[in-house]
């Protein structure tokens, strides 16, 4: 079992619902974003770099099979679970940020300050809380907590706390275009494997040799 994701760029409408769902469900501190959607080639999201040429690209942790972040972590706080998902143990991370230097996708986020202070600075309404409210431990390791520690790194965990409930990640469920799919990449008959085969699935930064478990399906040529 190797859990992976396929994102169909033809279906993505660039609405950033997945970004918001991810942020909310995972109780991400004020300045942190595990997920982002961009318009390649354009400085401004949702604006075509050339008329008729826009498409949208959601980017989050690629859960690489050859993950540099996992190798550089001096304490094994970033580690790979049995299904190939790269997780961060919030209780073990020492905050050296080596993984952030190692990751070529820019998806790792650091808690530069106490998240509670950040929420105040951002001007969130008093007493407002959000996100899945309970700690989640995988074999004893704290891989999700609604209130983060200051000075630790965090990133997409493929919603590991929802997996046990039989639920797909928040971004998959929150996508109005139904552009996201999760499944077993080791199984050649799974929906995700078939989509990658039949629709020319590709990875980001293939040349870096990270072998991501997140695949993208190219958008079709748009009509002008």
């Amino acid at each position: 079992m190797r859990r992976g994701m396929v994102i169909d760029l033809e279906k993505c409408i660039g609405c950033s619902s997945c970004v918001v769902a991810c942020k909310q469900h995972n109780a991400q501190p004020a300045g942190n974003w595990w997920n982002r959607v961009v318009t390649p080639g354009s400085d401004r999201h949702l604006t075509a770099p050339t008329e008729g040429m826009e498409y949208f690209l959601p980017i989050h942790c690629q859960h690489c099979q050859n993950a540099p972040c996992e190798r550089v972590c001096p304490v094994g706080a970033t580690y790979r679970s049995n299904d190939g998902t790269i997780l961060v143990d919030f209780e073990r991370c020492i905050g050296c940020r080596y993984c952030m230097a190692a990751c070529p996708y820019g998806v790792r986020q650091f808690n530069w300050e106490d998240p509670k202070k950040g929420i105040k600075k951002y001007g969130y309404q008093e007493g407002y809380t959000y996100g899945y409210p309970y700690d989640y431990r995988l074999e004893g390791r704290l891989v999700y907590t609604p209130v983060r520690f200051k000075g630790v790194v965090e990133k997409c965990n493929f919603c590991v706390h929802y997996l046990v409930k039989g639920l797909d990640p928040a971004c998959v469920r929150g996508c109005p275009g139904n552009a996201r799919f999760v499944g077993d990449l080791d199984d050649p008959t799974s929906e995700v494997s078939r989509m990658i085969r039949n629709k020319n699935g590709f990875n980001l930064l293939r040349e870096k040799g990270t072998r991501p478990n997140v695949f993208y399906l190219p958008p079709k040529r748009k009509e002008v």
């Binding site: 982002r36 080639g41 540099p68 304490v75 905050g95 080596y98 230097a101 950040g118």
Partner: protein, 409 residues
């Protein structure tokens, strides 16, 4: 104690206190007080790790030159070498501490070390090197410990002089390996990272060694000048040290520009963009890190300059500052260029960098950024200066309290 030493101790002590207070404040508030961002996640602290590790080199290389290659004229400076090595390698470890978000959890490095991480190797070899340089210092001081208040810590051997000489010789090969090892492994922390083109180069580790031999020897040089002066009997040693610094620095220039050259010739867009951060965006700093040490090296090679204490000290210090700028420039080339650069489907000749969440809230700034012009914050600089002061403080104190400076017979 002379007045100059007293003033030196007082000033460095005050800077250490200021650095400590700054660290206390940062510990309480978090790394939000630094000017780093998610997209620029390592700054002055990590640069200073590389800087101090480099400075630690000269010492033990010097001792191994004496005991392995028989350059006996350097002998009076051997203890200074071991001392500056110890001071700088411990400074390297101290300077990286404020970069750690959860310093209390550092015990995890011992309880759960992840052996593939170059950072783990670095901690191991820096600790070993600190121990080795301390041991060296002790061995070299041993004959002079008798008859001083420090006699009680002296090893009781029949012939301390012979004993010291014998063991210094035996340890020399290990210290040479360890001295080269700390630079290679510190360089590997960066050079192993395939995600960052600026670091991912086979030239980085040898270049680290070359830079370290220049700056580390320059520090020994400064301390030797301050303690022994420019007397005629040391001129031969100074000449050797000057040549050593010059050769090391020329090799550094060769390794660095060799790396630049092959990328510029092939002119792949990504590689040229990476280089342009250093040579264009940080052009002045790059000009400084090359031109100033180069000029100083040329000055040091002149036998007339070598007879003027002030000129030599200034030359060595400017060379060290140039090396510091070089270490600072380790970061922009990596963090001012976003590794996730894509050629958008259907567009010609476009290389586009995917913005990264800055991790900070700032009304005036974008949430997602492609460039962050990092310059260390006041807190970062105060902490760094505190560590520099620690090196000075330790060296002055050790020279005052320990039998380190002994005029040659």
């Amino acid at each position: 104690m002379s007045n100059i030493k007293k003033i030196g101790l007082l000033v460095t002590f005050l800077f250490m206190i200021a650095g400590l207070l700054a660290y206390g404040y940062q510990y309480k508030e978090g790394l939000v007080l630094t000017n780093m961002r998610n997209s620029y996640s390592w700054g002055l602290y990590v640069s200073s790790l590389a800087f101090f590790v480099g400075n630690a080199a000269g010492g033990l290389v010097l001792t191994s030159l004496i005991y392995l290659f028989g350059v006996t004229s350097l002998k009076p400076f051997a203890k200074i070498g071991a001392l500056t090595a110890f001071a700088n390698v411990t400074a390297a470890m101290i300077s990286i501490l404020p970069d750690i978000g959860q310093p209390i959890r550092l015990y995890n490095m011992i309880v759960h070390p992840q052996l593939l991480s170059p950072l783990v190797w670095d901690v191991v070899v820096l600790t070993l090197y600190a121990g080795l340089s301390l041991l060296y210092l002790y061995l070299l001081m041993l004959p002079d410990l008798f008859g001083t208040p420090l006699e009680q810590i002296a090893l009781k051997v029949d012939n301390p002089k012979e004993f010291s000489e014998k063991w210094a010789k035996r340890l020399a090969p290990f210290s040479l390996v360890a001295a080269v090892g700390i630079h290679v492994i510190t360089a590997w922390v960066f050079a192993t990272q395939g995600g960052r083109d600026w670091w991912h180069s086979a030239a980085l580790a040898p270049d680290f060694v070359a830079v370290a031999l220049a700056s580390g020897t320059a520090i020994v040089f400064v301390v030797a000048l301050l303690t022994y002066g420019i007397k005629e009997q040391y001129q031969q040693a100074y000449r050797i040290m000057a040549i050593f610094i010059a050769v090391a620095f020329f090799i550094h220039l060769f390794l660095m520009y060799n790396d630049f050259f092959i990328h510029i010739w092939y002119s792949a867009r990504d590689a040229v963009d990476t280089l342009s951060v250093t040579v264009k965006d940080y052009g002045l700093a790059h000009a400084f890190e090359v031109a100033v040490p180069l000029a100083m090296v040329i000055l040091l090679l002149s036998s007339r300059v070598r007879r003027k204490t002030g000129a030599m000290i200034i030359s060595c210090c400017l060379l060290i500052i140039g090396v510091f700028v070089h270490r600072f420039l380790l970061m922009p080339g990596s963090f001012d260029k976003i590794p996730l650069t894509i050629s958008p489907l259907g567009l010609q000749n476009v290389e586009w960098a995917a913005p990264i969440a800055s991790g900070r809230y700032d009304l005036a700034l974008d949430t997602f950024v492609t460039k962050w012009h990092y310059f260390p914050s006041g807190i970062e600089m105060a902490i760094f200066l505190g560590v520099v002061a620690y090196v000075g403080f330790l060296i002055i104190l050790a020279i005052e309290m320990l039998p380190i400076v002994r005029e040659a017979e």
